[in-house]
């Protein structure tokens, strides 16, 4: 039996404040003006048959099944394309309509294979449903005439879904979903009349076309034409569990459809607060890693990193780890150990890890992967606006008039938001892209940036200052807003600073590489926008001046009055699913949950009372500081939950040297990742499908993570942390993550109102959620800033010390690709490798020609930190003098090249600027050869353990 479908009212809802009253089948109905007759009827309980209509897409009016009769109207109008009118009298069920609908269905069915019993969507097919609804009992035309049953081959090229043209009814829903929902325009209808068929690109296969495999077409298909291969293989699911994606910071809500404990498919939830029924290739399809054969599901220990792993019980592993931590603290001091929380784990789990460090280890040596991505956001927004978080919800972009995207690549890194943004641009909003590289948003179907400020990497601060200079000196300041809402003296000092000639676009053009006129035009556009919104990513934060740029962005938003209402704001696009949450939960070494400094005695007293311990008032070590302390011999033990610091942190050889000095590294993860190869204890992690909890996305939206299957290793991550705390002699008594959230809420003002009951009721909640905002806060800083008055900060441009020279004449910058996710531990273990199975170096044709490099050549990339070898992609996406790569494969060694330069305020690494030389090369680098040997050795050390288990 198939799962019940979500209600589908056929056409989108309307927001109009004006309502219209009409009669449908004799019943009075009142709906917002602009609503279709179809939707009005559906909402009043008179569902009208339909095929080409679905409420995620604009009405199309092609299937002719939704005909109705309307008093005073000739013929039988399509209810999907007919808006309601006051006093309208509609009939949805009459003998004539029944006859017409049967005739329409008869035509459809005469050209549709009647293999329902063996069809993968049997029982979950709208065509089948409609045949039943209209009472089709015969097909007078027979099935021997011309048809499409055998005419076309199935397209099986996409690894995740199949396209069977024989089952297509040409309703256009897939084509429209690709256009309206995803915004890729990869699909079309080729041919005319009877020859009409859905076609990816120019009659290409799905894989050869522009298709990004978001699954919107599959979702929209009313038949089995586009079907998930997992459904074809496994059959339909038995139950559905609503949960939250564990990939990027968009935090899409999904219905995990499950048979037994096996996921059959992940369907984006229509009522998902962040995604509203859309998804991307990662969340929709790339979940197979959760049950990949590489999963390690038994705890392991070993005395040294060159010794074979020994499989042990949970108790033995935890006792060993606790014993080692205690031994180290007794020998080297209380501060010789620490922990790292994971942005891929839940809020409750990160809360527990920082609690373990603070309460059981007795220090503040806890940090999180936000250190290497958005720690400057935390610092910069706290300084200026008063809260370490983005100001809007995602839907806000639909009210923006001008959107600035700086150092972010939403269509790759945050695809569902990228689609929403493209929708708004298609509606007429203007786009300004500030990026060294021509990201897809600069020019893609029906989207073109009004300005692409193609600056040189490392010059962000000069750019924001030049934009600010233009705004201030050309009289574009929102004077009344600034006077009312911002600190006067700080604003005046800032105004004087940015007005200086050295900050003008003309003066900074030599630094940024962007013509002054282009900067001025962009500044005028943003400042005169009406609603101007800024979205930014790691291209802003991962610099030696990351925090300065974040403050500069906040300055721009304040000076133009663009904070505190829908459609505007400062919006960090967070990298991982729970980066916001892990920061909220006190994962930084200087802050307790809720961004309260450890030196604050009142806050400390609150937690000391709740935890029954004394909390160290001194800040702890950040991740890069931990490496330095390890190298100087004062930091010897670490508990790492769900982060692969050896692959993801910069200057790999430096990190490896630090890891080699550690006496007890406890890694809790799904796989034997690069960090685990330096570990002494391996605790099996649990995927997001195996536990309960919450994630908080980039818009501060707290959403439930729900257990879909039991933990493969017997313990969810939160349970493993509890057991480790217990072994350390600090028992924490929680029987369910909801109790952990209750404690978080009790101790954290911005979470006071959050609990699982409310999450069940509302689906998701955006913090702050407390007495002042019991329903949560979609838009922050309305009427005033969290810190009271907004504070303009001075943002001097200080060039990075990572300079190009004759020896290292190019700048390397790094980024992500759509199909892979960060260090790739998850996506590399899925069919997503069909799109991207190696990291490549993008190089401009001019630089390539200078070096004799052709497409696909192996090239060595050398920096002051190290050397690696990749294949080259020659492309004009990058500008001359700049090269680019991704970091999804450990053997690529992207971070062998990056240096340990970091942001002045937060130590966030300067991944985006590394001076390099690129040259033709014949063999892997020394590091890569060493890596291959070590990988083989470490997997060899795992083998005996695996064999024993068998």
């Amino acid at each position: 039996m198939s799962l019940p479908r979500e209600p589908d009212y056929g056409t989108p809802s309307c927001d109009s404040a004006q309502s219209v009253s009409l009669l449908i089948d004799g019943q009075p109905v009142c709906v917002p003006a602009g609503t279709s007759v179809m939707r009005a009827a559906g909402q009043s309980g008179c569902a009208i048959p339909k095929l080409c209509a679905t409420d995620s897409l604009e009405p199309f009016g092609s299937c002719r099944l939704c005909l109705v009769e309307i008093d005073g109207r000739k013929g039988y109008p399509a209810s999907c394309t007919t808006p309601v009118e006051a006093g309208m009298v509609v009939r949805t069920q009459t003998p004539k309509l029944a006859e017409l609908r049967r005739n329409v269905m008869e035509l459809y069915i005469s050209d549709h294979p009647l293999d329902c019993l063996t069809c993968p969507t049997n029982g979950n097919c709208e065509l089948q449903d409609m045949a039943g609804v209209v009472g089709l009992r015969e097909v007078r035309y027979g099935f021997k005439g011309e048809n499409h049953f055998e005419c076309s081959q199935k397209d099986e090229s996409n690894p995740y879904f199949s396209y069977d043209p024989a089952k297509c009814i040409v309703c256009n829903r897939c084509v429209r979903a690709c256009e309206e929902t995803q915004g890729t325009f990869a699909l079309t209808i080729s041919g005319r009349g009877f020859d009409s068929r859905v076609s990816p690109g120019q009659s290409e296969s799905f894989m050869d076309s522009e298709c990004v495999s978001c699954g919107a077409c599959v979702n929209a298909c009313p038949t089995a034409t586009l079907t998930e291969k997992s459904v074809i293989q496994l059959g339909q699911a038995e139950r559905s569990v609503t949960t939250t994606c564990a990939y990027c910071g968009v935090g899409c809500s999904f219905k995990a459809e499950v048979k037994g404990n096996q996921v059959v498919r992940m369907v984006p939830a229509k009522d998902g607060g962040a995604n509203a029924g859309h998804a991307c290739v990662k969340g929709r399809f790339a979940w197979g890693y959760a049950t990949h054969a590489d999963r390690i599901t038994t705890p392991m220990i070993r005395p040294s990193v060159d010794a074979p792993w020994q499989q042990v019980s949970w108790d033995e592993a935890l006792a060993y780890a606790a014993g080692e931590f205690k031994r180290i603290q007794a020998k080297y001091g209380r501060s010789a150990v620490g922990g790292i929380t994971s942005s891929r784990c839940t809020n409750e789990e990160t809360y527990l890890v920082q609690k373990l460090v603070r309460a059981a280890f007795g220090n503040n040596n806890v940090d999180t992967c936000a250190r290497v991505c958005h720690s400057p956001t935390g610092y910069g927004l706290k300084q200026t606006l008063g809260e370490s978080a983005g100001t809007q919800d995602f839907a806000s972009v639909l009210q923006a008039d001008v959107v600035v995207v700086m150092g972010a690549n939403p269509t790759d890194g945050h695809p569902v938001f990228g689609s929403l943004l493209k929708k708004r641009i298609r509606q007429g909003a203007k786009l300004i892209v500030i990026d060294p590289r021509a990201i897809d948003l600069v020019r893609s179907p029906h989207v073109a940036a009004a300005h692409h400020l193609k600056l040189l990497p490392g010059t962000n601060v000069a750019m924001v200052n030049a934009l600010a200079h233009t705004i201030v000196t050309e009289g574009l300041v929102a004077e009344a807003y600034v006077a009312e809402r911002c600190e006067g003296p700080a604003f005046e000092a800032w105004r004087e600073f940015v007005s200086r000639p050295e900050n003008s676009p003309e003066a900074t053009a030599a630094v940024t590489g962007v013509p002054a006129a282009e900067i001025r035009a962009a500044a005028r556009l943003y400042a005169s926008a009406g609603n101007g919104a800024i979205y930014y990513g790691l291209g802003v934060t991962e610099h030696s001046q990351g925090s300065t740029t974040v403050m500069g962005i906040a300055n721009l938003a304040m000076v133009t009055g663009n904070v505190g209402r829908p459609g505007v704001g400062v919006n960090p696009l967070r990298g991982q699913n729970n980066v916001q949450g892990s920061c909220d939960m006190g994962s930084f070494p200087h802050e307790l949950p809720g961004y309260r400094h450890v030196s604050d005695a009142t806050t400390r007293a609150l937690f000391e009372s709740a935890w029954n311990v004394s909390i160290d008032p001194e800040p702890g070590l950040r991740i890069p500081n931990m490496f330095e302390a390890a190298l100087d011999g004062s930091f010897k033990g670490i508990y790492i939950q769900g982060e692969d610091i050896v692959q993801s942190d910069p200057n790999t050889q430096h990190v490896e040297a630090a890891m080699a000095q550690m006496e007890c590294v406890v890694v809790q993860d799904l796989f034997l990742n690069e960090t685990a190869k330096w570990a002494h204890v391996f605790l099996p992690g649990s995927s997001f499908l195996e536990k309960d909890g919450t994630f908080t996305n980039a818009e501060r939206r707290i959403s439930r993570v729900r257990k879909v299957m039991p933990p493969l290793a017997g313990k969810a991550d939160w349970e493993a942390t509890l057991a480790l705390a217990d072994a350390l002699g600090y028992p924490m008594n929680y029987s369910h993550p909801s109790e952990i959230m209750d404690e978080i809420a009790r101790l954290t003002p911005s979470f006071h109102g959050v609990n699982y009951e409310l999450l069940e009721k509302k689906g998701s909640i955006q913090w702050p959620c407390n007495e002042a905002a019991p329903e949560g806060t979609p838009t922050m800083h309305v009427g005033g800033f969290i810190r009271g008055k907004g504070r303009f900060m001075l943002t001097p441009y200080v060039p990075t010390t990572e300079k190009v020279t004759r020896r290292f004449p190019l700048i390397l910058t790094t980024g992500r690709i759509l199909s892979q996710y960060n260090v790739g531990a998850q996506t590399r273990r899925t069919a997503n490798v069909a799109w991207h199975d190696e990291d490549r170096l993008e190089i401009h044709p001019v630089d390539a020609e200078d070096r004799g490099i052709k497409e696909g050549d192996w090239v060595g990339i050398a920096s002051r930190a190290g050397e690696t070898v990749l294949r080259a992609t020659v492309t004009e996406r990058v500008q001359p003098g700049v090269v680019y790569t991704t970091f999804h494969f450990p053997e690529s060694g992207a971070n062998v090249i990056t240096t340990d330069n970091s942001d002045w305020a937060t130590n966030c690494p300067e991944y985006k600027v590394t001076a390099v030389q690129v040259s033709l090369c014949a063999q892997p680098s020394e590091w890569q050869q060493r890596f291959a040997r070590r990988r083989e050795q470490q997997h060899g050390l795992l083998k005996p353990a695996t064999t024993d288990a068998g």
């Binding site: 501060s335 503040n364 000092a493 200087h590 001194e618 330095e628 302390a629 190298l631 100087d632 305020a905």
Partner: protein, 74 residues
Amino acid sequence: MNTDYVIRMANQIADALGINPDRDQAIHDLADHLNRFWEPRMRASLLAVAGSVDAAARLSPLVREAIARLRPPP
């Protein structure tokens, strides 16, 4: 902790905060930043740098002045 590492980070912070035309405020902000964000052994390393004539010469003047306002590591 590595001397070069500590000197480089302290000077970077001074570069960012030294823009303040009120020098005393800049010194205060720099010391405050170090007290709020630097773990005690990092502050201890910086104090050790300040105690070495050769190493201290590589510190920016602002850092040298801020050191007097550092909270002593416990």
